[in-house]
């Protein structure tokens, strides 16, 4: 068995956290050690999200933890929220994805764009985990370019009728409610995009798990089909308007991903250090060889930089001055560095590195999805390019 995980803190970054932030981090870390780590390997091999974890996650208050207490949430600051994501993804990106979707992509839009009635109806149930949500933006032919979506919402005398298909939807088959983004006007009019809360037992709504995934296997990913889905008038999120609304949700989720990927990197580094000290080859621990030391030194350096990056991003978010471009930089950097660290750890572990008994290859395979979702690495590169030059490379 692997020794107990202690996190990585080479620059005494803990001293930059307040007592509650550390308490939150430690609670989630212990929970991950005791509840998540023991079941994650099997869940990954089986290709199923470990649903038995949902009540425990809800009891801890992990869903929508940075939303206000009046809706049954924990009302944490964004650094504490980030630390939750870090610790969850230290366990598995799929489990962090589950919490990200529930909190940042479902509860957040209801909180930000919903009516008082919608907030009171949905948020407390979602915080309790008794209602699971999913977020439908991406379509089979519109991934990096969501403004081209072809899902429509036509207004009728007494409500709305939705038609279309969504793809790569985390929690899609588990969800009780879906936040679906659809065009209410002409297909060319991205400003007509609005959000809808769709109970998944509504006639015409169906979800089918996508099979054959070699990544995020402990997470359910589904295809949604909406065929003449009739909704009442109050299904629309009244304050949503244009592509900006779902993008605001993605900014929330990407913020959490920046922290989450760091957690995966820390898990791999921890495994690499422990393995390099214990694995003896040519008469001494492999950690005594220069090539492995270079690997470890590089990992520690990148992790330390990434820790400071997200911590400052979190402080900016709490101040209310964080920009989406700053989130792009963090998501881009941290997921990329985590993927590199997972790969290097996998290699440092030699043949053992391909086993599910160790974490590195699971994290590596997961991170390839994280690299791609919520704005691919390349898209964030172009977001930054546009920010720097003022010239959009998308158009």
């Amino acid at each position: 068995m692997a020794p107990k995980y202690h996190g990585v803190d080479f620059y005494a970054i803990d001293t930059l956290l307040n007592e509650e932030e550390r308490a939150v981090r430690d609670t989630v870390r212990t929970w991950v050690d005791e509840q998540l780590i023991p079941v994650i390997g099997d869940a990954y091999i089986e290709g199923k999200f470990p649903k038995q974890l949902i009540p425990g996650m809800a009891e801890l208050g992990l869903f929508g933890a940075n939303l206000p207490e009046e809706y049954g949430c924990a009302g944490l600051n964004n650094v504490a929220y980030g630390l939750i994501m870090q610790e969850l993804e230290r366990g598995d990106s799929g489990v962090r994805s589950f919490a990200s979707v529930q909190g940042a992509l479902v509860m957040y839009p209801i909180y930000a764009f919903g009516s008082d009635q919608q907030k009171k109806k949905w948020l407390p149930e979602m915080a309790k985990g008794s209602v699971i949500g999913c977020f439908g933006l991406t379509e089979p032919d519109y991934g990096s370019n969501p403004s081209g979506m072809i899902t429509t919402a036509k207004e009728t005398k007494d409500g709305w009728v939705l038609n279309g298909a969504k793809m790569w939807i985390t929690n899609g088959s588990t969800a009780h409610a879906a936040v679906i983004w659809a065009k209410t006007g002409a297909l060319a009019d991205a400003n007509s995009i609005r959000g809808f809360i769709v109970p998944t037992d509504t006639k015409g709504f169906s979800a089918k798990d996508q099979k054959g995934k070699l990544s995020l296997r402990a997470s359910d990913t589904s295809e949604l089909v909406l065929q003449d889905v009739h909704l009442p008038k109050d299904a629309i999120l009244p304050k949503s308007g244009g592509l900006k609304s779902p993008l605001m949700c993605l900014t929330q989720a990407r913020y959490g991903i920046s922290w989450g990927a760091l957690g995966a990197a820390m898990a791999c580094y921890d495994e690499a250090v422990s393995y390099s000290k214990n694995r003896v080859m040519f008469g001494k621990p492999i950690g005594g060889f220069q090539l492995q030391q270079a690997r470890l030194a590089e990992m520690l350096t990148e992790i330390t930089k990434a820790q400071l990056l997200v911590l400052q991003l979190g402080r900016l978010k709490d101040l209310g001055t964080m920009t989406p471009q700053q989130v792009s930089l963090a998501k881009r950097n941290n997921v990329d560095m985590a993927t590199d660290i997972a790969r290097e750890t996998r290699r440092l572990l030699g043949a053992n590195g391909i086993l599910v008994e160790y974490q590195a290859m699971r994290h590596l395979a997961n991170l390839e999805s994280v690299y791609t979702y919520e704005g691919t690495h390349d898209v964030h590169t172009l977001v930054l390019g546009q920010e720097i030059t003022g010239i959009s490379a998308f158009e």
Binding site: H6, V24, E69
Partner: protein, 251 residues
């Protein structure tokens, strides 16, 4: 149901501790401190009893430095109602001095339906303060309890002793020290962590006497001797058995 839970801030047994420059204390630098694990059982037991009774108060009491406030807040985050810190510069080496200070506070804040301690602190392994406080309060005391029922003024406690379970009874109020197995301590939920900030935590500076015991020195355990490989595969077994019998004398 008014329950006092006496807790202690201790170094996490998972962290590597170093002896400080004075040669008789531990260097705090870089050491992670936690709520003593046996005290977690005591906090959980108090919370469950209050919840079962439907009303009551769980008061957490600690003696230690200002940093012990954080440890008290861990218990408040789990659900305790309020905390009291008897603030000192250092925790006395003599458990009796600690017991006297805690007793004075318990007397002032009582009466209590139940006083709970962990069976021992994982830093000094003394297991003294609980029983001493019981004596000073003139209350019955059962130590290392792994199962507890209280009905109508009588507590029935189970203790895991060598090769058996001992069942004992006493009247309540009583002092009970808790052992592993009595319950499964809850995680301090995030809402609890936020709520803990707003719960009352009274800090009372106390000055303590030296007591009858003095720590002369702390010495890390001797480094373990390196292992020996006696051979490989089945062929090595006879030699290994011989050495285990004759040299290590464990067979």
């Amino acid at each position: 149901m008014k329950i006092a839970v006496c807790i202690k801030r201790v170094a996490d047994s998972e962290t590597r501790v170093k002896v400080a420059a004075d040669g008789k204390s531990l260097d705090d630098a870089g050491v992670k401190f936690i709520l003593n694990p046996y005290d977690e059982f005591a906090v959980e037991e108090a919370l469950q009893r209050k919840e079962k009774a439907g009303s009551g108060e769980v008061v957490v009491l600690a003696l230690g430095g200002a940093t012990s406030q954080e440890t008290i807040r861990t218990a408040l985050a789990m659900g305790a109602d309020r905390g009291v810190l008897l603030q000192t510069d250092a925790i006395p080496a003599d458990g009796f001095v600690t017991a006297q200070a805690i007793t004075a506070e318990l007397k002032a804040g009582g009466p209590w339906d139940l006083v709970l301690f962990g069976k021992m602190a994982i830093d000094d392994y003394n297991s003294q303060v609980g029983p001493m406080v019981a004596e000073l309060l003139d209350l019955p005391c059962v130590t290392a309890v792994s199962h507890l029922t209280i009905e109508g003024g009588t507590a029935t406690a189970e203790r895991e002793i060598e090769g058996a379970v001992e069942v004992v009874q006493c009247q309540v109020p009583a002092v009970i020290t808790t052992d592993k197995g009595i319950n499964e301590p809850r995680y301090p939920a995030l809402k609890g962590i936020m709520a803990a900030k707003k719960k009352p935590l009274e800090v009372k500076p106390v000055s303590l006497g030296g007591g009858a015991i003095e720590v002369l020195g702390m010495v890390p355990p001797a480094a373990r001797k390196e292992g020996r490989i006696v051979g490989e595969g089945a062929a090595a077994v006879p030699e290994l058995v011989k050495l285990l019998r004759e040299e290590a004398k464990v067979l």
